[in-house]
C-alpha cells in the first residue's frame, strides 16, 4: 500500500494494537499470521478460508524475503483491506463494468491528494462533525464510550460493528436526536438524517412527503416537489403520483427516505444502513450517489455492516473495537 491509498483506517480506539496480542506463535511472522487470521474471522470469513489466506499471505511475504508486517503493514488492517479488495470483485463481477476503468470510483482518496507524498494540492475540507469522547449509557449499561470521530467536507466515514453495539444510537447522537451521556459533539447545522426504517408517513404519497419536508425546511411546495423528483431520478426512481408510501416496496421506501434526507441540501448526511431492500443495481447507484455527494463537498457518515461497502469510504470507525 502506498501512503495515500484509501486503506480503511480505524479511527480512534483501534490502533495497531487492535488485533489480538501475540498469541504464542513461534516468531514474529507467525504472530502476524495469527493476528491476521483472527481479524479475518472477526470479519466473518469462514475458518478454513481464513487459515488458507493466512498461510498464503505468509508465503507471499516469504517469497519476497520480507517480514509480513514490513510488506503488508499491521495484520488487522491488511485483513480488512484484503476482504475489501476481494469483495470489490463480488461487487463488480465483470471487468467491463465502466467503474473498473474509472479511477475515482475505485479510489475515494483521489480528491484528497494532499494526503499523498506528492504534496498538498487540495486542502482537506472543513470539519462537519467532530465527536470527542462520546459515550452512551442506558441505566447501568455502557453501550459505547470514548468515541472520537472527525468527518470533514468531502469525506465518507463508515461506522461498522456487530449488532447491538450502538451504531444507530451513535448516528442518532450525531443527528442530535439522542443525547450522549458523555463527551462533546460539534456539528454543522444543516444535517440530513436517514433512519434504517420508518421515518415516513404510510398514508402520504412520495410527492406529499416532498411537500411536507420541503415545508419543514422552508421551501415552497412546488419547488420541493420538483427537487424531490429530481433527486429520486438520480436513484433511478420515478415516484408515482398516487401511490401511497405504505404500498411502496421496502427498497423504494428507502429511496424516498434518502431523498427526504437530502431534500434541503444538508452539509452532513447521516445514513443508517439505508440500502435495505435495494437490488444490486440500486445498491450500486446508491454508492455512486454517495460518491457524488462526497465530490460535491458534503460529509457523509454511513452505518453499515456490509464490508464490501468499505472500499468507497475514507475512514472506518469500528464501534465494536472501542466499546
Amino acid at each position: 500500500m502506498t501512503p495515500d491509498s484509501p486503506r480503511p483506517n480505524p479511527h480512534g480506539g483501534a490502533g495497531p494494537s487492535g488485533g489480538a496480542g501475540p498469541s504464542g506463535g513461534a516468531g514474529p511472522a507467525s504472530g502476524w499470521a495469527d493476528r491476521f487470521a483472527d481479524e479475518l474471522l472477526r470479519l466473518g470469513v469462514q475458518p478454513p478460508r481464513a487459515r488458507r489466506l493466512a498461510e498464503e499471505t505468509t508465503q507471499q511475504a516469504a517469497e519476497c524475503a520480507t517480514a509480513p508486517d514490513a510488506l503488508f503493514g499491521p495484520a488487522h488492517l491488511y485483513a480488512r483491506h484484503l476482504i475489501t479488495e476481494l469483495n470489490t470483485a463480488a461487487l463488480n463481477p465483470t471487468a467491463l463494468n465502466p467503474t473498473a476503468f474509472n479511477p475515482t470510483a475505485l479510489n475515494p482518496a483521489v480528491p484528497k491528494a494532499g494526503a499523498g507524498p506528492s504534496g498538498g494540492a487540495i486542502d482537506p475540507g472543513d470539519v462537519r462533525l467532530r465527536l470527542t469522547g462520546v459515550g452512551k449509557r442506558y441505566r447501568r449499561r455502557t453501550i459505547f464510550a470514548g468515541v472520537n470521530l472527525t468527518v470533514r467536507a468531502g469525506e465518507v466515514a463508515a461506522i461498522v460493528g456487530a449488532n447491538g453495539c450502538g451504531k444507530s444510537t451513535l448516528l442518532r447522537i450525531c443527528a442530535s436526536l439522542t443525547r450522549p451521556s458523555s463527551g462533546t459533539v460539534q456539528r454543522t447545522r444543516r444535517v440530513g438524517f436517514v433512519p434504517q426504517d420508518g421515518g415516513t408517513a404510510g398514508w402520504l404519497t412520495a410527492d406529499e412527503h416532498f411537500t411536507l419536508f420541503g415545508a419543514a425546511a422552508g421551501v415552497a411546495p412546488r419547488r420541493a416537489r420538483s427537487t424531490g423528483e429530481h433527486l429520486a431520478g438520480r436513484l433511478a426512481w420515478r415516484p408515482s403520483r398516487d401511490q401511497l408510501t405504505q404500498h411502496l416496496s421496502g427498497g423504494t421506501r428507502q429511496k424516498l427516505n434518502l431523498v427526504l434526507g437530502e431534500l434541503h441540501s444538508p452539509d452532513l448526511l447521516l445514513l443508517d444502513e439505508p440500502y435495505q431492500g435495494f437490488d444490486q443495481g440500486t445498491y450500486l447507484s446508491f454508492w455512486q450517489q454517495i460518491l457524488a455527494w462526497r465530490d460535491a463537498g458534503k460529509a457523509v457518515v454511513v452505518v453499515t455492516h456490509l464490508l464490501h461497502d468499505l472500499q468507497h469510504v475514507n475512514q472506518v470507525h469500528d464501534l465494536g473495537a472501542t466499546a
Binding site: 472543513d126 470539519v127 462537519r128 462533525l129 467532530r130 443527528a175 442530535s176 436526536l177 443525547r179 459533539v185 460539534q186 456539528r187 454543522t188 447545522r189 444535517v191 440530513g192 438524517f193 433512519p195 420508518g198 421515518g199 415516513t200 408517513a201 404510510g202 398514508w203 402520504l204 406529499e208 411537500t211 411536507l212 419536508f213 415545508a215 419543514a216 425546511a217 422552508g218 411546495p221 401511497l244 427526504l260 431534500l263 434541503h264
Partner: protein, 224 residues
C-alpha cells in the same frame, strides 16, 4: 406556513383512512340514536360520542406521525408548527363533523337555543382534539392511549354530575352546555361551560406542546 402544510397533509392522511373515518363519523350517531327518546340526554350523548371520536382520531394521527416528526424537526420545522398543524387539521375536521351533527340535532329535535347547540358541538371538537394529542404525548403507544381515552369517557359518562370527579372531567363543560341548550337554564351555565372548556383546552394544548417540545428537543451542537 409549515403548520398549514402539516395541517393540509394531516387532513389528507386522515381522509384516506376511509374505514376509520366512517367509524368515527358514525360513532356519535349510535350514541345519539340510543338516547333519542330522551331529548336532553340524546344531545349530551351525541356530544360525548363526538368527543370520543375526535380525540381518538387525534390520538392515532399524532401517534402515527411519531417517526416523521423528529425528521421534520431536524429538517427545520418548529415543534409548534408540527404539533400545531396536526391539531389544527383535527380541530377543523372535528368542527366539520360538529356542523353536520348540529344540522341533525336542529332538524330532529328543534332545541330551544339552536345557536347554543352549535356552540356546544363546536366546543366538543375544539376540546377533544388537544385531549387526544395530550394522551398521545403521555402514552406513546396506541393501545395504552386508546384505553386511557376509553376510561376517561367512561368516567365522564358515569360520574354523578354534582361530584368533584365529574367537574374535573375534560368534557364536563358539555354537560353544562347541554343543560343550557335544552333545558333553557340561565346564562351561568353557559359561562361556566365556556370557562371550563377554555381551561381544559389550555391544559391539554399546553401540555401537548410542553411534552412534545421536550420530546422533540434538539440540542444545539456548536459548529466545529
Amino acid at each position: 406556513m409549515t403548520a398549514l402544510v402539516v395541517a393540509a397533509l394531516s387532513a389528507r392522511e386522515v381522509g384516506r383512512r376511509r374505514v376509520a373515518l366512517a367509524l368515527m363519523v358514525t360513532l356519535p350517531l349510535w350514541f345519539y340514536l340510543l338516547r333519542r327518546s330522551a331529548e336532553g340526554q340524546s344531545v349530551r350523548m351525541l356530544a360525548l360520542g363526538m368527543a370520543w371520536a375526535v380525540s381518538a382520531l387525534t390520538l392515532f394521527v399524532v401517534n402515527a406521525a411519531r417517526g416523521v416528526d423528529p425528521r421534520l424537526r431536524l429538517t427545520g420545522a418548529s415543534t409548534l408548527a408540527v404539533i400545531g398543524g396536526r391539531l389544527l387539521a383535527l380541530t377543523a375536521g372535528g368542527i366539520a363533523l360538529a356542523a353536520a351533527y348540529w344540522a341533525l340535532v336542529v332538524a330532529d329535535q328543534r332545541p330551544e337555543r339552536p345557536w347554543a347547540a352549535a356552540l356546544m358541538m363546536a366546543l366538543t371538537a375544539v376540546v377533544a382534539a388537544p385531549l387526544g394529542s395530550l394522551i398521545a404525548a403521555l402514552l406513546p403507544r396506541e393501545l395504552e392511549g386508546a384505553l386511557a381515552l376509553l376510561s376517561i369517557c367512561a368516567v365522564q359518562m358515569l360520574a354523578d354530575p354534582p361530584t368533584l370527579v365529574a367537574h374535573l372531567m375534560p368534557f364536563w363543560s358539555l354537560r353544562e352546555l347541554g343543560t343550557y341548550v335544552i333545558d333553557g337554564a340561565d346564562a351561568g351555565y353557559l359561562w361556566r361551560a365556556l370557562l371550563h372548556a377554555a381551561l381544559t383546552w389550555l391544559i391539554c394544548a399546553g401540555g401537548t406542546y410542553a411534552l412534545f417540545a421536550w420530546r422533540l428537543r434538539l440540542p444545539r451542537y456548536p459548529e466545529p
